[in-house]
């Protein structure tokens, strides 16, 4: 079974600075997807960024980028120019690309990192 580990329960960053959230995972599969989700106080789960394991290029979405190290099974999220609205819980998640038949596409989540933005 796959596991996802987020070793930083809490992080804080000054507004406008850059912060990196860590995620490691364990899998024996070679093809999979990795995600970062944001959960603000509203509870809504918002997809921030995704990475396909077969793609070597790191994904970027505006101020959000990842550092995907497949051999090390590491998937960190970098937030540049932090804004107050970035304050939230951030979850790293894994999804297998195998057995992707109908409905068998569960997400396995890490325990989350609470990010605080200091004005």
């Amino acid at each position: 079974a796959q596991t996802v580990t987020q070793s930083q329960p809490e992080m804080s960053v000054q507004e406008a600075e850059t912060v990196t959230l860590s995620c490691t995972y364990d899998t024996s599969e070679s093809d999979y997807y990795l995600f970062w989700y944001k959960q603000p106080p509203s509870r809504q789960m918002i997809l921030v960024i995704r990475q396909e394991a077969y793609k070597q290029q790191n994904a970027t979405e505006n101020r959000f980028s990842v550092n995907f190290q497949k051999a090390a099974k590491s998937f960190s999220l970098k937030i540049s120019d932090s804004q107050l609205g970035d304050a939230a819980m951030y979850f790293c998640a894994y999804r297998s690309a195998y057995g992707s038949n109908f409905g068998n596409e569960k997400l396995t989540f890490g325990t989350g990192t609470r990010l605080t933005i200091i004005p």
Binding site: Y33, Q39, S42, R43, Q44, M45, L47, R50, E52, M89, F91, A97, S100, F102, G103, N104, E105, K106, L107, T108, F109, T111, G112
Partner: protein
């Protein structure tokens, strides 16, 4: 336009009661999921359905019974509620196709069992 909606958003009830949470999606998706987020914010899959057929059942107590009357709805019925059932329950949906399929989440239902 709400993509994935859940009712109710908050549910407070006594131990031993039976309650239901409803989920509806208007995205035309064919797969729906229930996830549970416990008090430590840990999120875990409970069930998935595709075209009204149960696909994933992650060793959830049989007091939990999902029901999918059609592709757009997935309800969760919980019998004999226990204190440990207190959590936030998220519904999600996706459209099956080869490769990547994003899961869209509902707003969550906070269940409190007293």
């Amino acid at each position: 336009d709400t993509a994935v909606s859940q009712t109710p958003k908050y549910l407070v009830t006594q131990m031993g009661n039976d309650k239901s949470i409803k989920c509806e999606q208007n995205l035309g998706h064919d797969t729906m999921y229930w996830y549970k987020q416990d008090s430590k914010k840990f999120l875990k899959i409970m069930f998935s359905y595709n075209n009204k057929e149960l696909i994933i059942n992650e060793t959830v107590p049989n007091r939990f019974s999902p029901k999918s009357p059609d592709k757009a709805h997935l309800n969760l019925h919980i019998n004999s509620l226990e204190l440990g059932d207190s959590a936030v329950y998220f519904c999600a949906s996706s459209l099956y196709r080869q490769g990547y399929n994003e899961q869209f989440f509902g707003p969550g239902t906070r269940l409190t069992v007293l």
